[in-house]
C-alpha cells in the first residue's frame, strides 16, 4: 500500500513537469518575440533588452526553462508588468472569492444533484428521471452566462431580494457575503448540477446493476438500505472522481461568473491580465491552476486508496 501511495505521489512530479513545460512553451512557441510579449505595450528597445536579460531570453531555451523552473520552485512567479506587484501576491489576494465561489457551487450542486441523480436512477423512466435527464442535457447546453442576466433581472432588480453584484468583505458579516454569492452560485450551478446529476445517475445505475446489489436484495433488507449502503456507497468513488474532473469546468465557469458579478477572484484577474497582456500573471495562474488540478486528482486517488479496499490491497 505504501508502495502504491509513493508511486502515486511520485507521479505528480512528471505531470507537474509537463505542466510547467507547457506553460513555458506557450510563450516560446507562439508567434512573435517572447520579450515583446512580456514587455507588452511599453516595448521600447531598452525595455526589451532589459527583459531579455532579466528572463535570460538570450540563453538557449532549455537553460531558460531550467532557470525559470528554479525561480518557480523558489516561489517566484515574476512580477506583474502593469502594477509591478509580485504575481504570487496578486494571485494570493484573489484566491478567496474564487475558492468560496467554487466551494459553494460544488456544495450546492452536490446537495441538489445527489438526491436528484439517486431518485432518477432508482425510479428509472419515472417523471423525476425524465425531468432530470432533460435537465442534464439542457443544463450543459444552455449558455449559463446568459442565465445570469435573467437571474439578476428577476431577483435583484424586479424583486429586490438579492444584491446585484459584488464581493463584500467577510469581516463585514458572513451572511452579507453569502447573500451576495447566491446569484453567482446559482448561475455557475446551472451546468454543474447537470453534470453531477448525470454522473450520480450513471454511477448509481452501474452499481445497481451489479450482482452484489441483487445479493443484498435477496437478504431481505429494506430497499432504502440497498440504495444507500450498496448503491450510493459504492457509487461514491466514481462520483468523487468526476467531481475532481469538474474542477476544470468550475474554473471556466468561475472566470465568466466573476466577470459578470464583479467578484474580485482569479477569473477576473486572468481576463484582466490577458487583456492587458500582463503575461507573467497569466503564466502564474495557469501554472497554479494546473498544480491545483494535479493535487486535486492526487487527493481523489488517495481517497480511493482509503475507501476502496481493493486498491489498498494491491
Amino acid at each position: 500500500m505504501t508502495g502504491f501511495v509513493m508511486r502515486r505521489i511520485m507521479m505528480v512530479f512528471p505531470v507537474m513537469g509537463f505542466v510547467a513545460l507547457f506553460v513555458f512553451l506557450l510563450l516560446h512557441l507562439g508567434p512573435g518575440d517572447p520579450a515583446a510579449i512580456i514587455a507588452g505595450d511599453h516595448a521600447t528597445p531598452e525595455k526589451l533588452a532589459e527583459i531579455r536579460a532579466a528572463h535570460n531570453l538570450d540563453q538557449p531555451i532549455p537553460w531558460q526553462f531550467m532557470t525559470w523552473i528554479a525561480h518557480v520552485l523558489h516561489g517566484d512567479l515574476g512580477t506583474s508588468l502593469l502594477s509591478g506587484l509580485p504575481v504570487t501576491t496578486l494571485i494570493a489576494s484573489r484566491l478567496e472569492p474564487t475558492l468560496v465561489l467554487a466551494f459553494l457551487t460544488l456544495a450546492f450542486s452536490t446537495a441538489v444533484a445527489l438526491p436528484l441523480g439517486a431518485l432518477a436512477a432508482c425510479k428509472r423512466d419515472g417523471i423525476i428521471d425524465k425531468l432530470a435527464t432533460g435537465y442534464c442535457v439542457l443544463g450543459t447546453s444552455v449558455p449559463f452566462f446568459v442565465v445570469a442576466y435573467f437571474l439578476v433581472l428577476v431577483f435583484a432588480i424586479e424583486l429586490r431580494l438579492l444584491p446585484v453584484q459584488g464581493y463584500p468583505d467577510a469581516a463585514d458579516g458572513f451572511g452579507n457575503l453569502l447573500l451576495h454569492l447566491v446569484l453567482p452560485v446559482a448561475t455557475l450551478s446551472v451546468p454543474v448540477i447537470a453534470l453531477v446529476t448525470r454522473t450520480v445517475k450513471t454511477a448509481l445505475l452501474d452499481v445497481l446493476s451489479e450482482d452484489h446489489v441483487r445479493t443484498a436484495r435477496a437478504k431481505g433488507i429494506s430497499e432504502a438500505s440497498v440504495i444507500v449502503f450498496h448503491g450510493l456507497r459504492n457509487a461514491a468513488l466514481p462520483i468523487v472522481t468526476v467531481l475532481g474532473n469538474i474542477f476544470a469546468l468550475l474554473i471556466g465557469g468561475v472566470v465568466v461568473t466573476e466577470s459578470i458579478f464583479n467578484l474580485p477572484g482569479i477569473g477576473r484577474l486572468t481576463v484582466d491580465a490577458v487583456l492587458a497582456r500582463d503575461y507573467p500573471i497569466v503564466q502564474g495562474i495557469i501554472l497554479l491552476a494546473g498544480a491545483a488540478h494535479v493535487l486535486l486528482n492526487l487527493a481523489v486517488d488517495l481517497l480511493y486508496l482509503k475507501f476502496d479496499p481493493r486498491v489498498r490491497y494491491q
Binding site: T215, A216, K219, G220, I221, E223, R310
Partner: protein, 542 residues
C-alpha cells in the same frame, strides 16, 4: 404437511422492452418442492433455470422481464401478489439464495462480517457479531474473526462461496436456492462446497433448489430433478429414475456429457516425431501486476518441460491459475518467458523476436477459449480466416479459396464466408477459429480450453471435429483444459499441472486408470457423479 413448501404453477414470463412484451422466456413452468428436499433444475444455458429461481425470490429484473402468468406459492402464500414489504420479510428467514459468481455477488467495499450482519439487521436480530462469527465457523472458515473483518477480494473463490452460504443460511431459511454455486470453482473446491451445503441443510431441514447444467452434480445431491429446455420443464422425477431412464433427448445428452469419463482408445501413432519441445520453461509475474490469491502468485510457470509429437494429442490439465494458459501464451510468444527454451521443428524460438520470429509463428497455431472474443466483430469470417495466409504472402484470391475449403473442413458451408461473427453461434465460431488456425497449415495446434465456453452438446461436436482434423491432417494438438472428462476423451498423453509445475505426466490411459500421485487421485475423486473408487466419499466432503 399436506401442502408442498414451494409450488410453481404454470409460471410464464417474457422479456420486455418498456411496455412491450418480447420473447417468452418461461413457459408454463410447474414445480413443487417439499420440506427438506433437494431439487436439481438442470438444463443448458439459456434454458430459464436462473430466471425461475429469480422469479421465486421476486428478484427478476423488472425492467427487462415480466411475469405473464401462473403462481408461485411458498408454504401456500402467494408470492407473485405479495407486496414488496412482505417479500422482504420472507427473504432471509424463509428463502435465501446463493449465486454463481461469488466475486461479483459480494459487495467489494464491505467486509464479509458486515454483509452477513446486514441480513440479521434487516430482520431485527440482535447479537449480530457473535452470530455472524459463529456462522462463519460453521461454513468452515477457520479463524472466523479474521474472515469477519476481511473484504471479498481477500478471499479465494471457495472461501467467498462459503461466505455466501453463511449469509444465505444464517437465518435458517426453509428454502435455499443455489444458482450454479460451484460452476466457477475448481472440481476439488466444488466437491467441498457441495458437501458443506448438504451438511448444513440437512441439519436445519432446509429444502434446496439446486440449479446446474452438470448431471454429475445431480447424481451426487439430487432427490428429484427437473430438466428445463427453452423455458419449459421437459421432465421431472426422482433423480435416480431420471438418470437411469431419461425420457427425452435433451436429458440424455446432458447425462452423456456429464456423468462419466470415457477414455480415448489408444492412439497407434506412437512414433510421431516431436514438433514442439519445451524445456525448463519459467514465467513468473511481477508482484504488482498479478492477481494474488493468499499470497501465492497465480498463473506462474516454474520449470515446465514437455514435448508434442505430430499426430498425437497432449493434454495439459490443471485447475484455474495452475499456469496452463501461461504455457500456451509463452509458446505462442504472446508473453515472453523468463527462461527456458522452446523448439519448433528444431529452431529455438525464445531468442527470436519481430520479423525473425514470423516464419515460425505459422508453425504453431492456437484456438482460444472464448469464441465470442477471439473473432474481430468488424471483419467477415472470410477476412479473419485469410488474414494469416495473407500475412505470409498468399494472394487474396488463393487465401479466399483456402478459407472456403477450410470452412467445409470444419463443418460449415462455403457461402457463409462473407458473414460477420455475430451471425454465428458459439460452437460455429469455435469452428471458424479453428479454420483460422488451420489456414496456416501448422505443425502444432494449441487448443486453450476450446470448449469450456460451450454447452455440453456443442462441446461434443467440437471435440469430435478436433479429432477428425487430427486424423486428416496429422497435426499435433496440445489441449489445455480443466475438465478431466474432456481430457479423457481427447488425449493420448497427459501432463497434470499444479501451481506451475507438472505433478504427473504420462499416457492418458495410465493416468485415468492408475493415477500415481495423491493429487491426481483427489481430482478424479472430486468429479461429480462418479462412484467413489479410490477414496471415501464422506471424508472428501469434510
Amino acid at each position: 404437511m399436506s401442502q408442498p413448501l414451494l409450488q410453481l404453477h404454470g409460471l410464464s414470463a417474457s422479456q420486455r422492452d418498456g411496455r412491450k412484451l418480447g420473447r417468452p422466456v418461461l413457459k408454463d413452468v410447474s414445480l413443487h418442492l417439499d420440506k427438506g428436499e433437494t431439487l436439481c433444475v438442470v438444463g443448458r444455458s439459456g434454458a430459464g433455470k436462473s430466471l425461475t429461481a429469480l422469479a421465486v425470490m421476486g428478484l427478476m429484473p423488472p425492467r427487462d422481464m415480466a411475469i405473464t402468468g401462473g403462481a408461485i406459492r411458498l408454504q401456500g402464500e402467494d408470492l407473485l401478489n405479495a407486496n414488496p414489504k412482505r417479500l422482504r420479510q420472507l427473504r432471509g428467514p424463509r428463502m435465501a439464495m446463493v449465486f454463481q459468481e461469488p466475486m461479483t455477488a459480494l459487495n467489494p467495499l464491505m467486509t464479509i462480517g458486515r454483509q452477513i450482519e446486514e441480513t440479521l439487521a434487516g430482520h431485527g436480530v440482535t447479537a449480530r457479531r457473535e452470530r455472524a462469527i459463529e456462522m462463519l465457523k460453521r461454513v468452515g472458515l477457520s479463524g472466523a474473526a479474521r474472515f469477519h473483518a476481511a473484504f471479498p477480494h481477500e478471499l479465494s473463490g471457495g472461501q467467498r462461496q462459503r461466505a455466501m452460504i453463511a449469509m444465505a443460511l444464517i437465518l435458517k431459511p426453509l428454502l435455499l436456492i443455489a444458482d450454479e454455486p460451484t460452476t466457477a470453482l475448481d472440481v476439488l473446491t466444488q466437491k467441498q462446497i457441495l458437501g458443506l451445503l448438504r451438511e448444513l441443510t440437512a441439519e436445519a431441514g432446509t429444502a434446496i433448489v439446486y440449479i446446474t447444467h452438470d448431471m454429475g452434480v445431480v447424481a451426487d445431491i439430487a432427490d428429484r430433478v427437473a430438466v428445463m429446455h427453452h423455458g419449459r420443464i421437459l421432465e421431472t422425477g426422482a433423480a435416480a429414475d431420471v438418470l437411469a431412464h431419461p425420457q427425452c433427448a435433451v436429458t440424455r445428452a446432458l447425462i452423456a456429457a456429464g456423468t462419466d469419463i470415457s477414455v480415448k482408445p489408444q492412439n497407434k501413432n506412437l512414433s510421431g516425431e516431436p514438433v514442439l519441445t519445451v524445456e525448463g520453461l519459467v514465467k513468473t509475474y511481477e508482484a504488482g501486476k498479478s492477481l494474488r490469491r493468499n499470497g501465492e502468485t497465480i498463473g506462474a510457470v516454474r520449470g515446465i518441460s514437455l514435448s508434442l509429437r505430430s499426430g498425437r494429442t497432449l493434454g495439459i490439465i490443471g485447475e484455474t491459475g495452475s499456469g496452463k494458459t501461461t504455457i500456451a501464451r509463452s509458446i505462442m510468444r504472446l508473453t515472453d518467458p523468463d527462461s527456458g527454451t522452446i523448439h519448433v521443428g528444431g529452431t529455438e524460438l525464445t531468442a527470436l523476436s519481430g520479423l525473425r520470429l514470423k516464419p515460425y509463428r505459422k508453425k504453431v497455431q492456437i484456438v482460444f477459449q472464448d469464441p465470442y472474443r477471439s473473432l474481430n466483430p468488424r471483419r467477415t469470417i472470410g477476412q479473419s480466416i485469410s488474414e494469416g495466409p495473407c500475412n505470409y504472402g498468399l494472394c487474396r484470391k488463393t487465401a479466399r479459396e483456402r478459407a472456403q475449403r477450410l470452412l467445409t473442413l470444419v463443418g460449415l458451408t462455403e457461402d457463409v464466408i462473407d458473414l460477420y461473427p455475430h451471425q454465428f453461434s458459439g460452437g460455429e465460431r469455435q469452428r471458424i477459429a479453428l479454420a483460422r488456425a488451420l489456414a496456416l497449415e501448422p505443425l502444432a495446434l494449441i487448443a486453450d480450453e476450446p470448449v469450456s465456453a460451450l454447452d455440453m452438446a456443442t462441446q461434443a461436436t467440437v471435440l469430435q471435429l478436433l479429432r477428425d482434423i487430427q486424423e486428416k491432417t496429422g497435426v499435433a494438438i496440445m489441449l489445455i483444459t480443466h475438465d478431466l472428462r474432456v481430457a479423457a476423451q481427447m488425449c493420448d498423453d497427459i501432463a497434470l499441472l499444479r501451481a506451475g509445475r507438472i505433478v504427473e505426466s504420462g499416457s492418458a490411459a495410465q493416468l485415468f486408470s492408475a493415477p500415481q500421485t495423491a493429487y491426481a487421485r483427489a481430482l478424479l475423486n472430486a468429479l461429480p457423479g462418479r462412484p467413489a473408487k479410490h477414496d471415501n466419499k464422506r471424508r472428501a466432503s469434510g
